[in-house]
């Protein structure tokens, strides 16, 4: 059984695994990726290698799935653990200690094809992937036992992926992660001081400066943030006030899927087939005080190693200014995606 533990000094939370096999440490030596279609558990024909799906999406009038959501076979957290009745396990304000590893861990398989990056999805796959994100958020919200659902993608071994086939992950948590708590606090403080949502001010500032803009659509803006941690880091925000991701409609999700795919395509065009993570930040389910918050997506290419200085201080050294990265991304046009 896994366990949430908090460090009393740093106040960091950790999910400690259940692997007691002290004699098998070589498990952690990373394996090289490159699964063949024959052995890949996410490829068609191997569906029995994953637990039964909790959701499945097909093209209109077709039988075969295009996007598929399954429970993670090796979950970091488990639903068969009793949730702590008063727990806010990922909150800074919680007392130090440990709690059972309650939660839910799912995988979204984003294509039938054995491709590795979101940029390789066709229009339907990309759109259904983002519809699946929304649907799982709605479903897990209805469950009532989770306060936050973290959706994230690891693409490439350097980004922590253990399987190559294009997929995202979902972790439903009984508490609100520290990073989100900090964002809610900053956003609340900005609103109290200025009576304007921080995110709208950010959008205004980026549109005025222009130098960090990457691309935009009717509803969304993509830019390299002013204090980018990583070279070619890109954030994607809704232009209008929108705290919760799960309210997005199909047409908005379709537009969003296209800008995210385009940005990743631009990054790959600029620097090659790099490993990357992206993740969604959205308002916790039971929060209504913070409706000045906006959901957003952060994309971090894994071009540089995080080293001792960053781990020690919490301060990042980014050798490449976001203004330079944005200029490079604006001029890097990916080839048109393959038609469905």
């Amino acid at each position: 059984m896994s366990e949430y533990r908090q460090d009393p000094l740093s106040r960091r939370w950790v999910i400690i695994g259940c692997d007691e096999r002290a004699t098998r440490p070589n498990e952690f030596i990373e394996a090289t990726s490159r699964q063949s279609n024959l052995t890949c558990p996410f490829c068609p024909g191997n569906e029995a290698q994953t637990p039964p799906p909790v959701a499945s999406y097909s093209a209109n009038g077709k039988d075969s799935w295009l996007v598929r959501v399954v429970p993670n076979k090796y979950p970091a957290v488990l639903t068969d653990t009793a949730p702590c009745p008063t727990c806010q396990p990922l909150s800074l304000s919680a007392a130090s200690g440990a709690m059972p590893g309650f939660g839910r861990h799912e995988v979204i398989i984003e294509s039938r094809r054995h491709v590795a990056s979101l940029s390789e999805l066709d229009d339907s796959e990309a759109e259904l992937t983002f519809i699946a994100y929304r649907d799982r958020l709605l479903e897990l919200k209805k469950d009532g036992r989770y306060r936050y659902v973290q959706i994230f993608k690891n693409a490439g071994p350097a980004a922590g992926a253990s399987l190559e086939h294009v997929h995202s992950q979902i972790l439903a948590l009984p508490g609100v992660p520290e990073t989100i708590e900090q964002e809610l606090a900053s956003s609340a403080e900005h609103f109290r001081l200025h009576r304007r949502p921080l995110f709208l001010d950010l959008i205004g500032q980026e549109q005025q400066a222009g130098s960090r803009l990457v691309t935009q659509t009717e509803r969304f803006l993509a830019f390299c943030p002013f204090a980018s941690r990583f070279p070619y880091e890109v954030w994607i925000l809704p232009r209008q006030h929108q705290p919760r991701f799960e309210v997005l409609q199909a047409s908005e999700l379709s537009e969003l899927s296209r800008i995210v795919r385009e940005v990743i395509g631009r990054i790959e065009c600029a620097v090659g087939q790099v490993a990357y993570n992206y993740f969604l930040h959205t308002l916790p389910f039971d929060t209504d005080l913070h409706d000045h918050y906006h959901w957003h997506i952060e994309i971090i290419p894994r071009l540089v190693k995080v080293a001792g200085f960053e781990w020690s201080t919490g301060c990042f050294i980014n050798p490449y200014p976001p203004e330079s990265a944005a200029a490079h991304l604006r001029s890097s046009l990916p080839a048109a995606p393959e038609a469905s």
Copy 2:
């Protein structure tokens, strides 16, 4: 010129590099290490490839250096920038914005021999390395323009090292890093609540539990912390109340150098020649309110990749319990180090 920037949402600080070469992004694609002695700038005979040393240590009565401290040839921060008169650039409480990248970046070359890990140092080299850590702290404190000096080591490309030859780095900063601020706050709160230093309670708890202990000497304790972020993470603490690292005497530094070297040897014996970081946390120069704080060293082997969940939430998934790691480290005895 580099720049400190703070993200208004996460409140994270970043040091943004000065490289405007937007057309040369492939610099960031990591190079494989394995320098030969002929080209290594840290090997004897190549001293002219580094800036002139700010400190140099020899064995008694010998001319040739054993440990050498030089300014970093590619510094992240620069001394020829005016420090912001009121700046606490790495403090959470600072206003959002940007500041010139003032600071000092040095490298400690820890052996004449082209070896890669602290575990490969002989007694004199290890001792002089830790004496150099203390001496640089004292010297940079005397300068008066720095509030915190971060000493850290990147060993192996996966830990962010760009050169193989055994070395550590020093970054003298005009502000106190966020991580240290958080540790000072936790330590202060614990003292206010319990009238006991948090660190002495931690030491007592670990000695009583025993299951996370790795090794100990007369003055120091090494254990896998309860909420370890990483498999085989080890912290080394003084057993007695000792807020500031720079007060350590030569005999204590000698004992400390041996326990740190032993722990790294045990990790390498347990899991092989893994990349790792370690870093020193100590009381900021101008702080006297927090004398319940203890300096300590955190060692993080880089066996697993940090992935999207960690970057998104600030919460770590550690698949290997610290109790299992400590048991494995207790039974992993490195071969005796080479005599000088």
